[in-house]
Symmetry: C2
DNA sequence: ACCTGAACACCGTTCAAGT
DNA sequence: ACCTGAACACCGTTCAAGT
């Protein structure tokens, strides 16, 4: 890459991070280009689709989340690892409001720039789920796709202004559906 | 209302129903006006916001759903009534793709034209939930807002193209989190 | 009273013309 | 090679002018 192109690339990413933090996942591409002092067409050559931009934007975060799955697998009992990672996943998507919609649709679209990271994320979760299922602490009638779906749905939910404050409670409700032999009424369980 | 205004009103609703079925909740207002052979400004006087249009569009469906809650309360045991109604609710929002997002945001916005119907829907569900809780078949650490939230999240989820096919399974997973004393692994329960 | 067309400030996409 | 500006076809909102 030419050095001026490289400069534009990193400049765009930097600005996109700020603008997306402000306006969420539907932020205007035009505004990102404008704020980066770059032609709109330049933005679109570096990132031909919105998904491509987010792929670059979230790359680090996703790597970290996948890494975290491996660490939890080594350090925690299966059921706790699964719940903790689930919670982390929901919290992560909360950073960029609306990003879970991008992930959910990428999941079904192999042409999306987010398809690969999406698959990697799902695999990381599936591994934790399988381990808990083998131990008998996670229900056996669900798979990695279900886990990913529930995580997406929950992320969407806590991204809605009216429901954000109940985030922890929702995570508790859903994880108690995933785990077996859990007391699932009256009070929250300590994790 | 003048008779020509009345004619435009019902014409707009009729056309909107079709266009929204085609393009979902983000359908272009301009296109609705265009197809109805009506000035765009006319559409906006009849329905000053997108929410106002949907309030009119969904009024019948919502009435039916609330009515159904009352019928289920009379005809079925508390736990079954709750689950059946939950399932109906999810199925309903599936009619107009994306409408659950409108509902979720209306829930927190008293100025929205959808606020009142949204509240009515939540109350209908809360009543069924309370009845099951009193009987001991629904978990006690959730309320009507939680029920509404889970219903919204599930509606969103089955509205995503990649997850639509698993709709029934997701409903099973979530309802088994809501009900107590349910076998929540290995096989689906017959309802 | 109700309707209309046009103007406004946006959006993402595309592409010929510049360096 | 890479960038740019302008043109294009959209969008929702607003409002003066018509009947």
């Amino acid at each position: 890459m030419r050095t001026d192109a490289q400069k534009n690339y990193s400049r765009l990413l930097e600005v996109a991070r700020v603008v997306v933090e402000e306006h969420g996942v539907d932020a205007s591409m035009r505004e990102i280009a404008r704020r980066a002092d770059v032609g709109l067409a330049t933005l679109f050559r570096h990132f031909p689709t919105r998904e491509a931009l987010f792929e670059a934007l979230l790359h680090m975060n996703l790597e970290a989340l996948i890494q975290q799955a491996a660490e939890l697998e080594a350090s925690s009992p299966p059921d706790q690892a699964l719940v903790s990672w689930f919670r982390e996943g929901v919290a992560f998507t909360h950073t960029y409001s609306g990003v879970c919609a991008l992930f959910a649709s990428a999941h079904a679209d192999p042409n999306s720039a987010l398809y690969a990271p999406c698959t990697a994320l799902r695999s990381a979760g599936a591994k934790l789920l399988l381990r808990a299922q083998a131990e008998g602490t996670a229900r056996k009638d669900m798979d990695g796709v279900d886990l990913f779906a529930l995580m997406s749905a929950l992320s969407w939910l806590v991204g809605q202004p009216g429901f954000a404050s109940r985030g922890d409670h929702f995570v508790h409700l859903i994880t108690s559906a995933i785990l077996t032999n859990q007391p699932n009424n009256d009070s929250k369980i300590a994790i």
